[in-house]
């Protein structure tokens, strides 16, 4: 009921004037106060990541007030009596202090850790949404790359944070990190020595990781978050294909007050859910793990979920190692450490550009694609999800073997095979499903939807009346861009088209064909209501509906 012409109250006027006269900011505010944000639940996945990050900064700051990043050995004498008299590092002792002596310390530790889990999970979920709807396409490739960068940094940030309390589990994680670093050809032992300041574990690593964990990496992530948000704001959010969303316009609620309130509420939800988990679900009980001891280990030593894919790759790799001319190359460590994530992250980073190159599509896209309308993309995405998911599960194969009473080596072999077969099957099946859905869409447009009305023709046959799809539904269906007929590879004079020349051009045209060859065209139906079944009977008798 706001009246646009009403005089704003003095306080608002005064404050605006103060800022405007100094910064000249009113034009900016005016332009952005009503900025439109399209609504869809999946658009909020990225917000979870943003808010988890803020919560990580807040709770992390609280923890730094007591945490001592030191590997000096002390003898514990504190309120967790079971460890009294045990030798441990100051880092571990101070984490016990936060947990058992600082009021709210355990809660903050748990919220911090849950927020880290959720941060990474929501980034991944958000990236999947972006990928499957094609929201990474021009002009948004840069934000896609920033996202991949943040996920990678998040993995490191999480690994380092997990290592800080210096408990048995985190020490084991560091031990594996050291083993992987050592395996790098040529410079491995140097990287190892320089990282740890000597031999494992030494006394340097935790102070160093602490600096990286609380300063350098969060700083980088913060910078990338800022860039991500500014680019998103400037480019405007993509929208799902509905009637009012087009490439030229965006439809939705204004930033102020609606979106602002919604996103504020979502921040509160995120904090609330994390507080809920911090209060009622225990995470990383370091007091049960005990202090790090290089001679000790626990069954089921696992990293946090986002490192699980690396763990799984390490587990299922065959033991290939080559020793020649006095040098050793450990493919059994290098391949799992580099190849799976190299394929996934490298592939994800290159994908927008490869896709544009293959399809020759250089246009801007603001309206998302329905996953079924880009079968190759969707199938590749599902193949990647399967690949990642299987490696991730393989990282927990001992827990799986234990809980489901399977043979441990059988699970390893299962994953060794499934990683290839499953990925391939996921591609094929997903593509089939997409094409099936396209066919159904084409059917809906050309024959309409079933009305539930059964008609009896004069000769006694029954049929169901079909009606054209509703306007909104057909808009969604017709948002599909049909494959354009391929340009002939040679023109009338036999001269090859410019982008099909050479081996690269040849590859491009083959890939372009693979992208579209089985596309099912969906054309708007001009006939309107005309349907054979309906027209057949002159006075159809209505039976039921």
């Amino acid at each position: 009921m706001s009246d646009a012409t009403a005089q704003p109250p003095k306080a608002v006027e005064g404050a605006l004037g103060f800022i405007d006269e100094r910064l000249g900011s009113t034009t900016f505010f005016k332009r952005n106060v009503k900025k439109v944000f399209p609504d869809h639940w999946s658009f909020m996945l990225g917000e979870i990541a943003l808010y988890s990050f803020i919560i990580l900064l807040l709770t992390g700051t609280f923890l730094t007030l007591w945490f001592k990043p030191s590997m000096v050995e002390v003898v514990y004498d504190g309120s967790y009596t079971k460890l009294n008299g045990v030798q441990m590092s100051e880092a571990y002792a101070s984490t016990l202090h936060i947990t058992f002596d600082v009021r709210g310390g355990l809660l903050m530790r748990q919220i911090h850790h849950w927020a880290a889990i959720l941060f990474m999970a929501s980034i991944l979920a958000h990236m999947l949404r972006v990928f499957f709807t094609g929201a990474y396409r021009k002009p948004r490739e840069l934000n896609w790359l920033i996202g991949i960068g943040m996920f990678t940094l998040g993995m490191l940030e999480g690994l380092f944070g997990y290592s800080l309390p210096d408990d048995l589990l985190s020490g084991t994680g560091l031990r594996i990190t050291q083993g992987v670093a050592e395996s790098i050809p040529l410079v491995g032992t140097y990287i190892y020595m320089f990282l740890f300041g000597g031999e494992f574990p030494g006394t340097e690593i935790i102070p160093r990781l602490y600096m990286l964990h609380i300063l350098l990496i969060p700083g980088l992530i913060l910078g990338m978050v800022t860039a991500h948000m500014m680019i998103m704001w400037h480019q405007k959010h993509t929208a799902m294909p509905t009637q009012k969303q087009t490439e030229e316009q965006v439809y939705g609620y204004p930033f102020y007050p609606v979106f602002m309130a919604k996103t504020g509420a979502y921040f509160l939800f995120t904090f609330g859910v994390l507080a809920l988990m911090g209060a009622f679900v225990q995470i990383n009980p370091i007091w049960l793990f005990g202090p790090y001891d290089p001679g000790a280990i626990s069954a089921g030593s696992q990293p946090d979920w986002y490192m699980g894919v690396l763990e799984g790759a390490l587990r299922i790799m065959p033991n290939w190692e080559v020793t020649a001319w006095g040098h050793t190359v450990s493919f059994n460590v290098l391949i799992p450490a580099l190849v799976p994530l190299g394929i996934l992250f490298g592939g994800a980073a290159a994908w927008p550009f490869v896709e544009a190159w293959v399809t020759g599509d250089r246009r801007l896209h603001h309206v998302n694609t329905r996953p079924r309308n880009a079968p190759v993309r969707t199938a590749t995405g599902m193949a990647a999800v399967t690949f990642y998911g299987l490696l991730w599960l393989a990282g927990a194969n001992d827990v799986i073997a234990d809980k489901f009473h399977l043979s441990l080596f059988a699970t390893t072999w299962f994953f060794r095979v499934a990683i290839f077969v499953g990925t391939f099957l996921a591609f094929v099946i997903t593509k089939r499903i997409c094409l099936g859905l396209q066919r159904k869409d084409a059917d809906t447009i050309s024959h309409g939807v079933e009305s539930g009305v059964i008609l009896m023709s004069p000769d006694g046959r029954y049929s169901e009346r079909h009606e054209p799809a509703r306007a909104e539904e057909s808009t969604v269906i017709l948002s599909k861009e049909n494959a354009r007929p391929e340009a002939p590879s040679r023109d009338a004079n036999g001269i090859p088209a410019p982008d099909t020349k050479g081996p690269l051009g040849h590859l491009r045209s083959r890939l372009a064909r693979a992208w579209t060859f089985d596309d099912i065209p969906i054309e708007p139906h001009d006939g309107g209501h005309g349907h054979d079944e309906v027209e057949a009977g002159k006075e159809p008798k209505q039976l039921s509906h």
Partner: protein, 303 residues
């Protein structure tokens, strides 16, 4: 007096004197050390009877696999079916039979813990309301305890071996829990996990969980001492009884300790945490997102 002298010359007199002396010593001994002594006090006759009972139980429940003389059996190819029990000791019998692992029902990768068969089930319910039922159950329990003791004694009589630890050696409240934690993490956690939740071994075998209260301190001690199935042996000269008591103290205190941070998620570490993060954390927030972005309710509008 004469009569006594005459008695003295009877052939059985020597035996009678020895018996009387033994009885006297037994009584005196029993008087001085009331704990250790029942067997001696009651005499060898009782012991022999117990052994006979043990042997009978063995023949009935164990001999089909382990052989009539507990020498172990092999199949046609010479592959062992069941090991020899000579020298495994009372501790081993008490552990295997007391936890229901033996007699084994069907040979698999590993014999699982299960409810012991009735003659050896010392864990039966006795707290019945009705007097007769309660008494019957108590009697049955006492018989089961005795059966287990007799069977253990019988196997021990075949070739010695580790004995059942006395209750004083397994009292969890007497152990050094800090040392126990260190020893547990170095020697046990690799299979049984930090908090004794168990874990996978090769070929379908597994380290069983130690976190349930029905795994008694005595059974933990016996397992270390005898190394049942795939488990290595930690004899009393490698890990002393004090060390073992420390480990028991650590385990029992750990499993009795509440989880200060809420639900412990099975205390198995990051796998269940990741699952909870995705399902509960992300799940709840997706529901919240759906609520926030759902279409506005119609009824509020003026029409």
């Amino acid at each position: 007096m004469k009569r006594f002298t005459a008695w003295r010359r009877r052939p059985w007199a020597g035996y009678a004197v020895v018996l009387a002396a033994l009885a006297a010593i037994g009584v005196i001994y029993a008087g001085f050390s009331p704990q250790t002594d029942r067997a001696e006090a009651e005499g060898t006759a009782q012991a022999a009877q117990d052994l006979a009972n043990g042997k009978q139980l063995f023949n009935k429940n164990c001999a089909s696999c382990h052989g009539l003389n507990a020498e172990g059996t092999k199949d046609a190819k010479g592959k062992p079916i069941a090991p020899s029990l000579i020298g495994v000791g009372a501790a081993s019998v008490d552990f295997q039979v007391g936890t229901g692992r033996m007699p084994a029902m069907n040979p698999g990768a590993q014999m699982p813990r299960k409810e012991p068969i009735p003659p050896f089930n010392t864990e039966i319910k006795t707290d019945y309301e009705e007097k007769e039922k309660r008494e019957a159950a108590e009697k049955q329990k006492a018989q089961a305890e005795k059966n287990l003791e007799d069977l253990s004694a019988y196997i021990a009589s075949l070739g010695g071996g580790p004995e059942i630890p006395p209750a004083s050696a397994t009292d969890p409240s007497k152990g050094n829990v800090a040392l126990g934690g260190k020893l547990f993490r170095t020697n046990c956690a690799q299979c049984h996990n930090f908090t004794g939740q168990g874990g996978a071994l090769t070929g379908g075998k597994y380290a069983p969980p130690l976190s349930h209260s029905d795994v008694t301190p005595t059974q933990i001690y016996e397992a270390m001492l005898t190394g049942p199935q795939a488990m290595p042996v930690f004899n009393d000269t490698t890990l002393t009884p004090q060390d073992k008591q420390a480990i028991i103290a650590y385990l029992v205190q750990t499993r009795e300790e509440p989880n200060p941070g809420g639900n412990g998620l099975g205390r198995i570490g990051p796998v269940s945490e990741g699952l909870a993060g995705w399902l509960i954390g992300l799940g709840l927030l997706v529901l919240a997102a759906m609520w926030i972005t759902a279409k506005k309710p119609k009824k509020l509008k003026k029409s």
